[in-house]
Symmetry: C2
Subunit: 169 residues, 2 copies
């Protein structure tokens, strides 16, 4: 996933490692560590997906290669029905603008269905937990409730994105 995210950012323009880390963090869902970032850059270099060139000071500017663009595309267009982690979806979403409009809706719609299922099970579990709860379980219940509310908010947000996408298409 990190490789995917790095390639996505480099599609736009060359960046050095530290800058990639900052840009990723600014997306809001992932504060990637150095211990992840620099090994990932080595991986991508070894695969020929990116190339480093000296920049000012200690900086190394990384640039995506033609091969790298191919890797990015195949990651971007991976089957939405296949298993995808939360982070996987978020990275894909960040670069969804690179897909044609109807494929975008497919990706978001699939995610929406997954979240709906999650929400239903969360609701059942919560009802069960509430009925069995002692007072000292208050915070565990609160966590479950908050998690449910977050999922609901995620779904509503996705609906908004899909609606916006349809209205421009």
């Amino acid at each position: 996933m990190l490789d995917f995210a790095i390639l996505g950012l480099l599609m736009e323009r060359p960046r050095h490692g530290y800058e990639l880390r900052r840009a990723l963090g600014e997306l809001g869902f992932w504060k990637v560590s150095f211990g992840s970032l620099y090994p990932a850059l080595r991986r991508l270099e070894k695969r020929g997906a990116i190339e480093a060139s000296k920049a000012s000071g200690r900086r190394k500017a990384y640039e995506i290669t033609e091969a790298g663009r191919g890797v990015f595309d195949s990651l971007l267009q991976a089957d939405p029905e296949a298993t995808e982690t939360d982070r996987g979806f978020q990275v894909r979403l960040a670069f969804l603008g690179h897909l044609p409009s109807e494929r975008r809706i497919q990706v978001m719609d699939h995610r929406r269905r997954e979240l709906s299922v999650q929400l239903k099970t969360a609701r059942d579990i919560l009802i069960e937990a509430r009925s069995a709860a002692k007072n000292e379980d208050r915070y565990r219940i609160a966590l479950m409730e908050h998690s449910m509310q977050s999922t609901e908010a995620d779904i509503a947000w996705l609906d908004g994105l899909v609606a916006a996408e349809r209205s421009v298409a």
Copy 2:
């Protein structure tokens, strides 16, 4: 953190591995993998924090030891000012009922301050990003906005928890 979470669940009653995984997942913020869980149980056994006993079928019921209770307490009471990951906070919150009331508020209050800082930076970054955004960056912007909204919701939720805690105290 996983060790902490496992001990917290075992404080209540003995459970076997699979059940620990389910209980953790039901908290909503962590679907722990087997590859994390079973090594964690080995670690805790080796430290003498938990003990396994045969249960029905292949099941092994794990029970927390006196030493384990000590480990749990020291993890629970760790300085709230010290660096804490998101997941670290959530685990601590799940078992916050084991702390005296005023310490609970300290923990939540510290988290609240961290989230406030996050929110401010996120806001600045978003403003900056909006002004420089091209059309294809739409989804990146949407991610940032959603992340901000989530942080706002987290803060509001924390405020509710703190208020509830004060009202019972």
